[in-house]
């Protein structure tokens, strides 16, 4: 009981709250995800001059010196170089100083046991380098100590400026929400999502009903066969299922071959009709779930009722319309609402099939866009904060729709008090 509640809290309740927290930050792969980070980089040095920091100080900040002192030698011993090389460095280079990495490498080349790989030379240079540039400091105090260690003196006012200019960490912001409302893509993606959910749902529920009813009116051997076939997409891993669709629609795949025999030029049909296939691919998987639920719902209808209708001369179509469908209102409602939610939030099949393409945002849905923004894109900068903002919208829908189910499906009965106490 306790472990279960801890795990559920840790990986479920906290993530929901953290999604909100992250959505109010500028977190991205550029800023990192941990707190303050002070780094003097080449870019910040240019920036510093523009902000009126004393040129002499800027030069000092960019200064690099390679010192073979005790600290540097200690680090060299930890690299894991040949002991002969370490010994030679200790004998020949101890106490030396180099103004550039080039000079250092030249000196290393003179050694008898000189390091052969670039990796090793770089590791030596890294061990003996003394500079403030590209060093990462997590606190202001550490940054100050770093400056002092490199012999750089700054007054408090300048230090304050430096802290501000070198801090690359994320900040709190509400800009994500402003951007979401202002962006042109928001509407495009919203429209895509609505289109995708509506038509996939139509396909899903429609096909599930057709399958469940058709197999109900078939000899049991046939119905078993068709149900088994339709369960295959659900059982097989998504990666394989989508790969097979890609082959099926590929320009040398089955569709092109089949249509080719009718005189149609081979095409990459997936690229020609991306939405059609996104809906079909998702629909085939979704239909199998509806099929199982609906099939058992049809079987639950008392046989007497159907027999009575048959005796009274009702055709199968009339039985379906007048008796079966009205009795199945609840399962249909359940499947529809359940799948609305999962279609809104899942992006696995679209990611594998079109990845939002072909072209720009053609089949990009909301959930897929959140994933692209925060976790995988071509622009290099992963915008965690903005991605979380997109996810907040989904979380909101998720919670609202889940609460709705609980109301529809009689929550009180499900949490009834146990009979034995303690």
């Amino acid at each position: 009981m306790l472990p279960a509640s801890v795990t559920v809290t840790l990986f479920f309740v906290i993530p929901v709250m953290m999604t909100f927290v992250f959505s109010f930050t500028t977190m991205s792969s550029d800023t990192g995800i941990l707190g303050n980070r002070y780094i003097v980089t080449k870019a910040t040095i240019l920036d510093l001059t523009e902000h009126g920091i004393d040129a002499a100080l800027v030069r000092q900040l960019g200064h690099k010196v390679f010192r073979f002192n005790d600290a540097g030698l200690a680090k060299i011993r930890e690299i894991g170089l040949d002991s002969s090389l370490v010994k030679e460095i200790e004998e020949k280079l101890s106490g030396d100083e180099f103004a550039s990495e080039k000079a250092l490498f030249a000196a290393l080349k003179q050694l008898i046991n000189r390091p052969r790989s670039f990796k090793h030379r770089k590791a030596i240079s890294k061990s003996v380098v003394n500079t403030i540039t590209n060093q990462e400091f997590r606190t202001a105090a550490a940054f100050r100590a770093g400056l002092v260690a490199n012999g750089i003196k700054v007054d408090d006012a300048t230090f304050g400026q430096l802290l501000d200019l070198t801090n690359t960490s994320w900040r709190w912001t509400t800009d994500n929400y402003v951007e979401l409302l202002a962006s042109d893509f928001t509407f495009k993606i919203l429209a895509n999502t609505a289109f995708y959910v509506f038509f996939t749902l139509l396909f899903n529920v429609g096909f599930a009903l057709v399958l469940a009813l058709a197999t109900f009116y078939m000899p049991s051997g046939q119905s078993k066969f068709f149900r088994a076939v339709w369960l295959i997409p659900r059982i097989s891993p998504s990666v394989i299922y989508v790969m097979l669709w890609k082959w099926f629609t590929f320009d040398s795949g089955f569709m092109s071959y089949f249509l080719g025999s009718l005189g149609v030029e081979p095409e990459n049909w997936l690229n020609e009709f991306p939405w059609t296939f996104v809906i079909i691919v998702n629909g085939f998987v979704g239909a199998s779930m509806g099929m199982i639920i609906f099939a058992s719902a049809v079987l639950a209808i008392p046989a007497d009722v159907l027999r009575a209708a048959e005796v009274d001369g009702a055709y199968p179509m009339q039985q379906v319309r007048r008796i079966i469908l009205p009795l199945m209102a609840w399962p249909i409602l359940f499947i529809t609402s359940y799948q609305t939610l999962s279609l809104l939030t899942s992006f696995e099949y679209i990611l594998l099939l079109t990845d939002g393409g072909p072209g720009f945002f053609t089949t990009e849905t909301w959930a897929l866009n959140a994933y692209h923004t925060a976790l995988s894109n071509y622009f290099g900068n992963l915008r965690y904060g903005f991605g979380a903002t997109l996810a907040v919208v989904l979380v909101f829908f998720g919670v609202a729709l889940s609460l709705l189910y609980l109301r529809l499906f009689d929550f009180k009965k499900l949490v009834a008090e146990p009979l034995i106490e303690n």
């Binding site: 009981m1 472990p3 279960a4 795990t7 559920v8 990986f11 479920f12 906290i14 993530p15 953290m18 992250f22 995800i33 109900f216 009116y217 078939m218 049991s220 046939q222 068709f226 076939v229 339709w230 295959i232 997409p233 059982i235 891993p237 990666v239 790969m243 097979l244 082959w247 099926f248 590929f250 040398s252 795949g253 071959y257 085939f284 939610l341 999962s342 939030t345 899942s346 992006f347 696995e348 990611l351 594998l352 959930a367 959140a370 925060a374 976790l375 965690y384 979380a388 996810a391 989904l394 979380v395 998720g398 919670v399 609980l406 499900l414 949490v415 008090e417 146990p418 034995i420 303690n422």
Partner: protein, 274 residues
Amino acid sequence: MDDRKTNWPLTLFLLIVSAPILIMYVWLFIDSVSEINIESIWPEKFTLRNWRFLTEEIPGHGSVWTATLNTTIFATSVVAIVVVLSSTAGYALSRLKFPFRAPFLGIVLLLHSFPSVTLIISIFLMLRMIGLYDTLVGVILVKAALELPFGIWIMKGFYDTVPWEIEMAGLQDGASRFQVWYKLVLPQIMPGVAALAIFSFMAGWSEFVLPLILAPSSDTRLLSVYLAGLIIDDYLSDFGLFKAVGLFYVVPVMIFYLFTQDKLMNIYGGGTKG
């Protein structure tokens, strides 16, 4: 209904709409062992070249065996965690009275219907912060946690169908609550435990999005991510290879399903009979 006669138009219609599935999976077998002919979909010649990934690494993609081992560890660990935690928590929720029971059950129910991918961004960031990013342990914990609400919910359903009399009798005879659970109640719901274990194993074996995002590197990669990596590799466009790897990946789960489908269907039924 056994008295149904074959309705040919109906059967034909179903055959046509089911054709893509049948064709795709039949050609999964065919193409994995044949040389692909661009002009036609009919196989030219039998070959085992597509199966070369078993003995050699596909350049840039690492070993399939690492991925297979990872997938096995992943799926079995998820099963172990989900089964142990859900069968205990389900019992507690079904039979014990403790503070915050109703709110907890409410949260579990809410989460059960709540799609977990929504949380993937904050889970990713949290794993980065606590240092479990790109580890098998991290992704196992996340997957198990996301499966738990479903597991607890299903197990509670099974416990609810066990008659109270069994436990009352056990307690009367002086057994402790734990003994009652372990010796009397648990055997009653074994079909449920089996169904949940099978379900979690198949879910774990097939999982793609979580490992893709949370454990992408070649040491921690699962088979699903390995195969997806092959497919999107621009230097490979070899459906024969993809299908062979795909078959290698899907066959265990298909066989597993064939042998366990009767037990798995219990998950929709719920509980012992009588």
